[in-house]
Every structure is written in structure tokens, then in C-alpha cells.
């Protein structure tokens, strides 16, 4: 860890040498705060601009999803609907159609949920174990194996379809939840290991060594020392694995098929545009319905993005 330590040393050493902050003259202090206020104002401005750029397109979709007819959507810009005189055009038609009883969204929602939860839990657990081995167990060929594993991220899922489906058919498991869980877990592993390993490496060696001196084996170190410190990393990967599985269409269609028995919400939503793709305006509503859950997960897991887990554990 060159960078953190080199960067940390001069600064963390500085306060010891430097006079206490109270020693700054009042004028100097005022100057510093003024400068900081100025930068923080530019910072907020910049953040606001980025946030706007990122949100406006989605906002457009949100407005669109409440616009009545397909015809309006494709002939006038969505912002025209915001003019007060056009407010009467807003309607819930798209949502009513999307949520209509014929679409049985409830069934597909359960399917999505049943597919997703194990598909998030399994790769995270396996990846945590693997990342621990890559970070804290010294064995021959460790680096090569690690590189091989994370490089597998580049394998497009499409090339796995025929070989894997052939095996699943042999096992008589195609079309069941089991192969979806297995597939999602396998496809998520390289990135999971890569990400979690990165965070795991950051944990100060002293912590691990102290525990080992106390007689803790690898399993104890993993469970008692490492896991608690990994909460933010686990949360951030969980968010994404959840997202990918939730929004997946390809894996579900390839290994389980488009039947009400297993197909996820995405399969149903993408079908809403009709065989000839003409009813795509319904997708704007559909996209928002399916977005609610990943957003809720994001907000819920943000709680675990806690600061200062390592506070006081780093040597000065």
C-alpha cells in the first residue's frame, strides 16, 4: 500500500509538529474558513450541476410515463407536458395498463424476488471466503489465480449459454430456480471477488496479526476480525449484484424460459411492447415500476456505508 501510507505519513505526522490550531491568529483562521466556504460553495454548485445532468433524462421518462397517449409522446417533447395548460393531459393510463390484472405482475414480482435473494447471498458469501484467501492466506500461485479469476469478468454471458444449458438439461434442472441461482452466483463471482479483495486488502495487517497471535485460526479471523470491517464493501457489492439480477433478462430467458412459473418481472415488462414492438410507451411506466425495488435496496443498504470502521486501528 504505497500510496495511503506515503500520503498518510506527512499529514498525520504534521499535527504533532505543527503548532496547535488554536495558535492560528484570528485573521488567519478567518481567511481559512472564508476560503473553505468559497470552495464549498463552488463544490455544491458543481455537485448540483452533475446531479441535474444525471437526473434530467430520467425525469423526462418519469413525465413521459404519466402522459396519456402514445401519439403525444412521440410528437411533442416531454417538457411540454409541464406547461400548466397541459396538466390536464396527465393520466395514469400507462400504469393502469402495466399493472393490469392480465399482466399478473404480482406473480412475476414474487418470481423476481425468489430469483434475486439467493442469487445475491450466495456469490457474496463465496466471494468473501475467496477474497479472504487471496488477501490473507499465503499460498503458491496466489497472484496468478487471482488475476485469472478477475479476468473472467470479460467473458460475455452469451458464450456460456449453450455449454451451461446443455449441462442443466442433462441434470434435468433446466427451467427451475436452481439453475438461475447457480448461474447468477457463478457470473457474479469474478467481480465480487475482485471488489471485496480490494477492500479486504486495506484492512491493516496489524489487526489480523494481533488476532493470530492470540491463537485465532483463519476461520476465527475471518468471522471476528474481517467480516465486521467489510460491511460497507459488502453493502456496495450487494447493491450491484441485486441490481444486475433484478434487471436481468438474458439469464432468465436462456436457462428458465419465459413462463409464469419462473420468469422475472423484466421478462413480463419487456413483453408489454407487444410482438411487433409497437406499444413501447408502456415501457416508461414499466421501467419505473421495476425500478422501485432496486432503489429501495440502495437506500436501505446506504445505512451500511459507515465511516470510521478503521478509526484508531491504523498506526499513526
Amino acid at each position: 500500500m504505497t500510496s495511503p501510507t506515503t500520503a498518510a505519513r506527512p499529514t498525520s505526522a504534521a499535527p504533532a509538529k505543527a503548532p496547535k490550531p488554536t495558535r492560528l491568529t484570528r485573521a488567519e483562521r478567518r481567511a481559512v474558513t472564508a476560503k473553505n466556504r468559497l470552495t464549498s460553495r463552488t463544490a455544491s454548485g458543481l455537485a448540483l450541476v452533475i446531479a441535474l445532468l444525471w437526473t434530467v433524462p430520467t425525469f423526462g421518462l418519469a413525465v413521459t410515463s404519466f402522459r396519456g397517449s402514445r401519439r403525444q409522446i412521440t410528437t411533442t417533447g416531454w417538457w411540454k407536458a409541464l406547461w400548466p395548460s397541459n396538466w390536464g393531459d396527465f393520466s395514469l393510463t400507462n400504469y393502469q395498463t402495466a399493472l393490469g390484472s392480465q399482466n399478473k405482475l404480482g406473480t412475476y414480482f414474487v418470481n423476481s424476488f425468489v430469483v434475486t435473494l439467493p442469487s445475491v447471498l450466495i456469490p457474496i458469501t463465496l466471494a468473501l471466503l475467496a477474497a479472504y484467501a487471496f488477501a490473507w492466506i499465503d499460498f503458491r500461485g496466489r497472484n496468478i489465480l487471482f488475476i485469472a479469476v478477475f479476468s473472467l469478468q470479460v467473458v460475455p454471458i452469451q458464450v456460456t449459454m449453450i455449454p451451461l444449458l446443455t449441462q442443466y438439461v442433462n441434470w434435468g434442472l433446466n427451467g427451475t430456480y436452481w439453475v438461475l441461482w447457480l448461474s447468477h452466483a457463478m457470473f457474479g463471482l469474478p467481480l465480487a471477488i475482485f471488489l471485496l479483495h480490494n477492500f479486504m486488502r486495506e484492512i491493516p495487517r496489524e489487526l489480523v496479526e494481533a488476532a493470530r497471535v492470540d491463537g485465532a485460526g483463519h476461520v476465527q479471523v475471518f468471522l471476528r476480525v474481517i467480516l465486521p470491517l467489510m460491511t460497507p464493501a459488502i453493502a456496495s457489492f450487494a447493491i450491484f449484484q441485486f441490481l444486475w439480477v433484478w434487471n436481468d433478462l438474458l439469464v432468465a430467458l436462456a436457462f428458465a424460459g419465459n413462463t409464469p412459473e419462473v420468469a422475472p418481472l423484466t421478462a413480463r415488462l419487456s413483453d408489454m411492447v407487444g410482438s411487433r414492438g409497437s406499444a413501447w410507451h408502456l415501457l416508461s411506466a414499466g421501467a419505473f415500476i421495476s425500478m422501485v425495488v432496486p432503489l429501495a435496496v440502495f437506500l436501505a443498504l446506504q445505512r451500511f456505508f459507515v465511516r470510521g470502521l478503521l478509526a484508531g486501528s491504523v498506526k499513526g
Partner: protein, 488 residues
């Protein structure tokens, strides 16, 4: 793993919330569906039953089959020939989804009721990519409905498609023309019976606008060109509106245009050679055909009404491209019979019919008595020869199925099965399309791009036609590029 269980709690909460939400949605739409159900009863045409209000249609379909089942022996008499298939299951895989999918399911519900066989239907937009994967992995469906003969050839090459059983062949010999049987034949073996069909050579227009301007329906190509010139000279609106954007399939509507032109200006014999690559793709007769097309729709004076310039043709979704006719900014839009559902998707208020908001006339031939038309169709391939699969195949090739399908479909389906009782077709456009398909005087050709290798028919033909409009390539350049891409 304590954190995990804590993480699951918010998820569950959300789960409950959503299920609750969709339950509310259910009750909401139930109200509307009862309303439109009464509307549909009085107005059988097309207006009420659109792609969008799916509830109504399946609602009525279900009750239909229920009552039929209740009548018992009589209704099942026609199905006695298929025997007792109780306890068997036939899996069917196709492209039809949503509303269209439920129409198909309704069409064989009675078969399932009477024979006891379970028909497990699966529709997918990814059908064409997924079917080969499944077949190769050993998970082929019992029956696949292939949207084009090219895919049949690919599937037959895997060695897993079963030749059509005798009962199917008998039905096809009796009810279809020889050329339709040919499309389902690979290397002399008959595999796949035709199912649905479409007629593609139509020009959509507004009867009211034509009446106002005093225009009459052209019956020859020269009259069509003269009408185009007349409309441009009158200057109320431009004559043509065209759009060929279709997501990953952008360009296909233009290939239909080209095929129509080739059939007219190069002739039927050359059309067949061109499709089979017995003459090069850029044969001079094809160049001429494309130039004739360009004179109409690659011409700033005649396009692209209410949408933009020639380049806008490439960007305009084909699903929307005819709509300027309703706005009064365009007079003519060439599209297939199945375009009728697009009108009502765009605006449920529109009526399709001779005295409705929009209607269509056949794209004229060079002379008034030549009736060249192109069309498409889908084919039933079987990957299993179990008795119940063969029975179901035979049923799909029978007039009984065609009649059941017509009854179950408010609009947007026809077949070339001559045993169909045309009066059962519910929309006037479907009746018009069926009359074209059944007319022995029509010079019918199958959609050429569906017969070409997919590198061309679903590849360079699409992309080069897109470039023709988007990047102003010349006809010769376009055809040269496609010729170069023909797999050796």
C-alpha cells in the same frame, strides 16, 4: 451473517408494498374492462379491442372457451379424430407475446379441452436467438412456430426437426397452394406446415382526404406516379410518409419496398432468381427497380410528410410512420396488412375501414390486371414425433384451427389456409388481406429477405437500405455492398 438477515427486512417490506400496489391495479382495471367489454360487444370492428386494453380480450376469450366446453359432446365432435390425449403435454414456443400470445392460446383451448392434452405455450421476443440455443442444448420445444423459412432451414440443418406427419401433409395439400408447401420444404422433405400469413403490398390512405381532394385510387403504376405528382403539385401535403426504424431490425420496412419494386420492374421470374442468388444482388434489373423506388421516396419533393427530410426516413419508427395521414400531412403510406394494429395502438379512437379514418388499397402493378403482391408467413416445425405432438400439428394445419384463430383475433391475423371461413375474420382489413391471399389471379411472392441467408436478409439488406436513406448512398453503391456481403 447477522447483517444479511437485517438486510432482508427492508426487502420484504418492499415486497409487500409492491404486491399491494399491483393488487390495487387489478381492481382499478377491472372497472375499466367491464366498461370496454360492453363497448366491444356493440362494436365488433376494431375500435374497442386494441393492443392496449388487453384485459377485455382475454376476459372474453376465457368465457368463450368455458361456455364451449360446457356444451360438451357436440363441440368436441370435430376433435374426436385426434383421439384421447389425456395426460399428455405439448410444449409450444413462438414469438407471439402479450395480447397476441393469448389469442393463440385461446385458439387451441378447445383442442386441449376436448382431447385432454395440455398445451404449454411460451412466447418470447428473444425467440430467434433462443431457439437455436435450446435446440443445441437439448432443450428443444415440441413445436416451434418459426416466423420465416430461413430459420426453418437453419433448424433442419441441426438434424432435430421431424418431417411433417402424413396427416399434416394431407391438410397442407388440400388447403394450401403448392408454393406455400414449398416454403415449408427443405431439400425435398416437407417439414413445416404454414400457419399464419400476411399480405404486405398495401398503401394506406385516408378515404376522407382522398374524397376532399378528388383523388381516386390508382390501379396502375403510372397512375400511382401521376397521383404522387398531382399531390405534390396541389401542395396541401407531401404525398408519401415513410419510416424504417425498428430498433435492432431497422431497415426491414425498406426491404419490403424493394421487394415490391423488384417484383414489378424485374418481374416474377427474376425475383425468384434474385432471391435464390442465381442473378447477383446488384443485377441491372434490380438497380432499375431501386431507382424507380427512389424516384418516389428518395425525393425531397415527395417525402417525408410531416416528419422531415429524406434522412428522417431512417430515424422514423415504422410503427409511427403512417400517422401523418391522420394529421392530414401525408397522403400515402405503404405498409403490410398487419399495420392495422399500429393505428389503434397510436390512437384507440381510430377506425380502420373503407369508410373509416384510414384504409388501404393494393400497391398497383404495372398494368391494371397484374396483381403482384409480396407476403410473409410463419411455419410449424416439430422437434418431436410423439403422437400428441403430431395430432396437435395436424390440428394447426386444419381449417378448424384457422376458424378458431379468426374467432379469437379481433384484428391483425390472416392465413393462406383456403379452408378458412372468411366471414369469421373480424376486421375488414383482415378480410381484404385474405381475399388477396386467396385470389388465384394474384402473383404472390414470399418476402425475399426472409428467404435469403440471414447475413443478407437480416443483415446487410437492412443496414444498407438504412444507409441508402441515412447517408444518401446511391442505388448502385447500396446493391454492390449487399452483393459483397452474400456468404460464399
Amino acid at each position: 451473517m447477522l447483517p444479511t438477515t437485517r438486510k432482508a427486512l427492508p426487502l420484504l417490506a418492499v415486497a409487500l408494498l409492491i404486491t399491494g400496489l399491483s393488487a390495487c391495479g387489478d381492481s382499478g382495471t377491472d372497472n375499466t374492462s367491464s366498461k370496454s367489454a360492453t363497448g366491444a360487444a356493440t362494436d365488433t370492428a376494431a375500435a374497442g379491442d386494441t393492443d392496449t386494453d388487453t384485459d377485455t380480450d382475454t376476459g372474453t376469450d376465457n368465457t368463450d372457451t368455458d361456455t364451449q366446453a360446457a356444451t360438451g359432446d357436440d363441440a368436441c365432435a370435430a376433435y374426436a379424430q385426434y383421439g384421447d390425449l389425456s395426460g399428455t403435454k405439448v410444449t409450444v414456443y413462438a414469438t407471439f407475446i402479450d395480447q397476441e400470445g393469448s389469442e393463440y392460446e385461446a385458439s387451441w383451448a378447445q383442442f386441449a379441452n376436448c382431447t385432454g392434452a395440455e398445451i404449454a405455450y411460451e412466447g418470447s421476443r428473444e425467440f430467434e436467438a433462443q431457439l437455436p440455443v435450446r435446440v443445441e442444448a437439448g432443450a428443444a420445444p415440441d413445436i416451434a412456430i418459426l416466423p420465416q423459412p430461413g430459420l426453418l432451414r437453419t433448424m433442419v440443418a441441426t438434424g432435430q426437426v421431424k418431417p411433417a406427419p402424413a396427416a399434416v401433409e394431407a391438410n397442407v395439400d388440400q388447403y394450401w397452394s403448392a408454393s406455400w408447401k414449398d416454403y415449408g420444404t427443405v431439400d425435398g422433405t416437407f417439414y413445416a406446415a404454414p400457419l399464419g400469413a400476411s399480405a404486405k403490398s398495401f398503401v394506406w390512405y385516408s378515404p376522407a382526404m382522398f374524397a376532399d381532394a378528388g383523388y381516386s385510387i390508382p390501379t396502375t403504376w403510372d397512375e400511382l406516379v401521376a397521383l404522387t405528382e398531382q399531390i405534390a403539385a396541389d401542395g396541401v401535403a407531401k404525398p408519401w410518409c415513410v419510416g424504417i426504424e425498428s430498433g435492432t431490425a431497422t431497415g426491414w420496412p425498406a426491404t419490403d419496398w424493394v421487394e415490391d419494386m423488384v417484383l414489378r420492374f424485374a418481374g416474377g421470374a427474376n425475383y425468384d432468381k434474385w432471391v435464390a442468388h442465381e442473378i447477383p444482388f446488384n443485377d441491372p434489373s434490380i438497380v432499375t427497380s431501386l431507382e424507380e423506388m427512389g424516384a418516389l421516396i428518395h425525393n425531397e419533393d415527395y417525402v417525408n410528410a410531416g416528419i422531415g427530410n429524406v434522412q428522417s426516413i431512417a430515424a422514423e419508427p415504422w410503427t409511427d410512420a403512417g400517422y401523418p395521414i391522420v394529421d392530414g400531412t401525408c397522403y400515402l403510406h405503404r405498409a403490410a396488412s398487419f399495420y392495422q394494429t399500429n393505428w389503434t395502438t397510436l390512437d384507440p379512437e381510430l377506425t380502420v375501414g373503407e369508410d373509416g379514418d384510414v384504409w388501404a388499397f393494393p400497391l398497383p402493378g404495372l398494368t391494371a390486371d397484374s396483381k403482384p403482391t409480396i407476403g410473409g408467413g410463419d411455419f410449424v416445425a416439430a422437434f418431436s414425433d410423439r403422437p400428441e405432438v403430431q395430432a396437435f400439428q395436424a390440428f394447426l394445419a386444419s381449417p378448424e384451427w384457422a376458424n378458431a384463430k379468426a374467432t379469437a383475433t379481433p384484428q391483425g391475423w390472416v392465413t393462406a389456409n383456403s379452408g378458412l371461413d372468411a366471414s369469421l375474420l373480424q376486421s375488414p382489413m383482415d378480410q381484404l388481406a385474405f381475399s388477396v391471399l386467396a385470389d388465384p389471379g394474384v402473383e404472390f411472392r414470399f418476402d425475399g429477405s426472409d428467404l435469403m441467408p440471414s447475413e443478407v436478409g437480416a443483415g446487410s439488406f437492412w443496414t444498407e437500405m438504412t444507409n441508402y436513406f441515412a447517408q444518401d448512398k446511391s442505388p448502385q453503391e447500396v446493391l454492390d455492398a449487399i452483393e459483397a456481403s452474400w456468404p460464399k
